[in-house]
């Protein structure tokens, strides 16, 4: 039997038992792939992360991200939460933790910055690892079936539903009203069909629904369903919010832009979460979307495996 240290945190919130829970194994040396997968399944959170020494000494760490069923190339809340945990612990494989870290992940190197309040680490900010990639336009009937909604629940002048990724793919679909957003329910059979129709090598079909009070609103309400990855609903999805931010940024006409967008998620499931995005364009070139959020510690101890 070996003992392995762990920490759990709630991410994208300042309130314990809100936001998105994450389990972090701050030193995963000695664990095999199968053990990491079993630990992620046993925690049964939407994701668990495993921190390893970097392959390239110029980087801070290698971070592997597992859902209860699969390893995934990138995700938002695991990066924010992992950076917070490492920032609070203060050292990483014998080196002091810097306020700027580089995590090696399957999607690429993720830049992470600690967010401090009065010197104390309270959260983190990450940059999306890849430029916006739109792989499919999704038909509205598929989205409606997955979310148990009607075609009338999509705004006639809204954004076309697409599968977009800045590291992890999501079907992004605009919803006409908060009432329709609250009514949405994931339909597993429809997700299985959607996964066949719109396959993506990086992940199963996952749906990010959002509602904007107006086109230039600085706040967006959202829900995310991923029943094929054992997450019927996710309370806070940084990677999906970042993909939405990148898509909205791509539609802006300004050559230079520096705007904040706040995504409120998880309200309908009783775990309110706040994801802050920075959308920036310089001389007509979109910069990587920055995702930031607060975190709060919940649990720590040892696994006996």
């Amino acid at each position: 039997m070996i003992s392995v240290g762990y920490v759990t945190v709630d991410v994208f919130t300042r309130t314990r038992f809100a936001g998105n829970p994450l389990a972090v194994i701050p030193d995963a040396r000695g664990l095999g792939d199968a053990e990491m997968q079993r630990i992620a399944a046993e925690f049964n959170y939407s994701e668990s992360t495993f921190v390893l020494p970097p392959d390239d000494a110029a980087n801070s760490a290698r971070v592997r991200i597992f859902t209860p069923t699969d390893e995934i190339p990138f995700a938002g809340h695991p990066n924010v939460g992992t950076a917070f945990v490492l920032g609070r612990q203060g050292n990483l494989f014998g080196r002091p933790v810097s306020d700027l870290m580089q995590f090696e992940e399957r999607a690429g190197v993720v830049e992470v910055a600690l967010v401090r309040d009065a010197g104390q680490v309270v959260g983190a900010r990450i940059a999306a690892p890849r430029p916006l990639e739109i792989s499919h336009v999704i038909d509205a009937e598929t989205v409606a079936a997955c979310a148990s909604l009607r075609i009338e629940d999509f705004p006639p002048d809204g954004l076309l539903p697409v599968m977009a990724s800045v590291g992890l793919p999501f079907a992004l679909a605009e919803i006409a009203s908060l009432e329709a957003l609250a009514r949405a329910r994931p339909n597993g059979a429809a997700f299985a069909l959607a996964d066949q129709r719109y396959p993506h090598a990086d992940d199963h079909f996952a749906l990010f629904l959002f509602h904007r009070a107006s086109e230039d609103a600085g706040r967006v309400r959202a829900r995310m369903f991923a029943p094929l990855s054992s997450t019927p609903e996710d309370p806070a999805t940084g990677s999906a919010a970042a993909a939405l931010g990148a898509r909205l940024l791509s539609l802006r006409r300004e050559a230079d832009l520096d705007a904040e967008l706040v995504v409120d998620q998880g309200i309908e499931m009783g775990r309110p979460s706040t994801i802050s995005l920075n959308l920036k364009k310089i001389a007509g070139v979109a910069q990587p979307v920055q995702v930031s959020g607060h975190c709060i510690e919940v649990m720590s101890g040892m696994l006996k495996i």
Partner: protein
């Protein structure tokens, strides 16, 4: 003020971690508001989180799923007893819990623990075409109590079932136990589906064995029944009928030990 509570996660009814039925056990120095207990259980996102509080010689025990408080939880009781009898009070011969289901006693039993639960006998009933359709294969016999008990002829029938959970949830019962004779020293295999309770399939179910053990005990004429629950995680139990009680014995393993900050 920051408050820290001990928390354990135990896999019950198994002799190895990552199998059996997981439960978290939180040890309280005083009772917290129900909303806090529910929030901790939701955060753990496990089939059950048990809360323990020592009151003199007694130990009060409550169980919560991520959404509701449970009236009785066999695996949560076994896991709580494992924490007390192996970690917190390793000299004690037994533990008595005060619960919403009355007094529950757990004693040492070989390398494992034995849990005394009320027997829940199923009686034969008419075949249910709706149940057979939802299970995808008609059972050889059907009995009922709180749960349906669907009995198949061959051990292979049970793991092969791929039920329609939406259809099962429409049936008028708490859940559906499926069972068949075992082999190689195992008397019976089973699975338990309770989509109406929000659990499509439970990994290992103490309460279901309060029905499974008396059924096979009567049918096979044996006092002790060696049972396997053949869910994807899998679990092992031994059961014995004692009057109107069933004594279930099983092993448990510690997976996690930590503190929760409130």
């Amino acid at each position: 003020m920051t408050r820290k509570l001990p928390i354990y996660q135990v896999d019950a009814f198994t002799d190895r971690v990552f199998a059996g039925n997981p439960a978290a056990i939180v040890v309280l120095d005083s009772w917290l508001p129900d909303a806090t207990l529910q929030a901790i259980a939701a955060e753990n996102n496990l089939p059950a989180t048990a809360f323990l509080h020592h009151e003199g010689a007694h130990c009060a025990l409550r169980w919560f799923t991520p959404t509701v408080e449970l009236p009785l939880c066999g695996h949560g009781t076994l896991a709580a007893a494992y924490v007390i009898l192996t970690l917190r009070d390793p000299g004690a011969p037994r533990v008595v819990f005060d619960t919403k289901a009355g007094k529950l006693i757990v004693t040492r039993h070989g390398s494992g623990l034995a849990l005394d639960l009320p027997l829940n006998r199923a009686v034969p009933c008419a075949p249910s075409p709706a149940l057979a359709a939802a299970l995808g294969k008609a059972p050889a016999a059907l009995l009922t109590t709180r749960n349906y008990l669907a009995v198949y002829d061959r051990a292979d029938d049970v793991p092969a079932l791929t039920p329609d959970f939406a259809a099962l949830a429409q049936l008028h019962c708490t859940g559906v136990i499926v069972t068949a004779p075992g082999s190689d020293g195992v008397h019976c295999v089973s699975r338990y589906f309770a989509p109406a309770l929000g659990v499509d399939e439970d990994a290992v179910t103490g309460s279901a064995h309060c029905t499974i053990v008396p059924y096979w005990s009567g049918r096979l004429g044996k006092s002790t029944i060696v049972a396997r629950q053949v869910s994807p995680r899998g679990g092992a139990l031994t059961g014995e009928v004692c009057g109107d009680r069933v004594v279930l014995a099983g092993e448990a393993r510690l997976y996690l030990e930590g503190t929760i900050t409130l």
